[in-house]
């Protein structure tokens, strides 16, 4: 989780990611941010997030992103 927050903070240092639950719906992360984030996650967690998993529900909060990483890792 710490590594993910570090990646997110590099994208948007002004956001409190631990508390935020509408990262996509609230317009904090746009499509460029999401793709940059996925590239970083793929590197950091050695997973490969497919395009069909890029939905607001999967990227709205740190918890949701961690759940997605876990799901893909276990598949």
């Amino acid at each position: 989780m710490k590594a993910l927050i570090k990646i997110l903070n590099e994208l948007h240092p002004e956001v409190n990611f631990e508390a935020e639950t509408a990262l996509v719906d609230g317009g904090i992360l746009d499509s460029l941010d999401i793709v940059t984030l996925i590239t970083e996650i793929n590197q950091e967690y050695d997973v490969s997030i497919p395009a069909q998993e890029i939905t607001p529900e999967n990227f709205n909060s740190v918890g949701a992103i961690m759940r997605l990483i876990k799901k893909i890792d276990e598949a």
């Binding site: 460029l32 999401i34 996925i38 590239t39 793929n42 497919p50 395009a51």
Partner: protein
Amino acid sequence: MLFTSYEFLLFAGMLLVLYYTLPKKTQWMLLTLASYIFYDLSGPGYLIFILITTTSAYLTALFIDRNTETEVRFLEANRDKLTKDQRKKYREGQKKRRFFVLIAGLVVGFGLLAVMKYTAFAVTNINFVLHKFGAEGLNIPNILLPLGISFYTFQTMGYLIDVYRGTVRAERNPAKLALFVSFFPQLIQGPISRFGDLHGQLISGHDFDSKNLVRGLWRMLWGYFKKLVIADRILVAVNELIDKPAEYRGVYVVLLILFYSIQIYADFTGGIDITIGLAEALGIRLAENFNRPFSSKSTKEYWRRWHITMGTWFTDYVFYPLSVSRPMQRLSKFCRRKLGNSLGKRIPVYLASIITWFLTGLWHGAGWNFIVWGLLNCLVILVSQELQPLYDGFHKAAPRLTASRGYSAFMAARTFWLMGAIRILDCYRNVPLTFRMFGSIFTTPNWGELAGVATGALGLGIHDYVVVLSGCLLVWAVSRLNGKKDIRERLRGRPVASFAAFSLLFLSVVVFGAYGFGYDAKQFIYNQF
């Protein structure tokens, strides 16, 4: 059949009556029949193309869906017999089969679009190269582009990808799929709907609800107001400015940026209002395509608010798959190793953006002006992205200024003019000419000629400008009010006020709409795409 024709109003009126007299179970059949009649009346021979796209999509989706079912059944039946590796291998094999079928379906759909829309453009470019080498050129084919083919092809291909991804199931009834592809209110200019959002509504049937009917008619009338009172009136001046570039330079190009922005906004949002309104009257909710785009404070924000369904289509089905694809991720790793982390991680994302915007431009039309338009939008977005730390620094250094209304208004005005300036590529349809004309703003000191514009120099008199300006102010006020609470909801339960407002708007369309000598209700701009 144009939305602005009397035939369309008669057609829509008759359909509404019939629709609500039929049992709910059979309403979808009427909609399918009506959609095919509408499309057939829109142009000769169009039906064959939509039938090819529908049939191909039907078969492709059915194969993918059945293959997925077979896979699940097989794995279930052999749960104890197969090792983990064998299961994985079997799954991968089936996925590969589905992928190839998907590609075949996409090739048919996009291939048909490409042949119809881009053949002449491709031949023109080939001829350009051939002439350079002194060779004779090929004959440029004269292909009539079926109306709305870009819209229904994208909607249908989105459906195929969704079936492949497993987010929706394939439709088993070809006539029901035909309705999703051809639903007539949105057939020729969108919005580009998603199967998961729309199909169930089309099939389920709807009880008559006076609230839906009234809301729908309101929305349609509002669309006609924008189209006939604003867009088609300012169109005369826009055409005059475009047709005589040698005459109208300098300040006239500034006027063109302004007038064309007004025209395309009123035209496109007006058409979408008619579409969404008619669907609403039928009890069907379509996706919104606009969200006050001219209030955007950046290009990125503008593209989240303008032609939303097209933007999200490209994001979901082109930009994301491209960005997270294996080759792009490999490129990312390579760039990081060779160029460092900061630059390395940008390159794949930016490359995917460039490809996506190139295709977005190409979707709009077969011409270099559209491609350059797309790439310029991309350039502005990427430069803004790079300058973001600078903006953030400025926001930190001057928090009161950047939080003020004046600064927001400045940002919105800047975005409006920037987007408008790029948009004139759509007007002149000639890249070098557009750049020359834009340059003339700074080299032709003719601001004094503005006075002549009001006295009819561009084919419009002072009364026309008053009508357009009043219309724009009304649109702005309504959009502000709608932002807080839908104006139709405000009028609910107030029959006198509602009736008076509806009558006044109707009268405005009748009295101030652009008809009669010198005018002709024009085709919607986005019908051509």
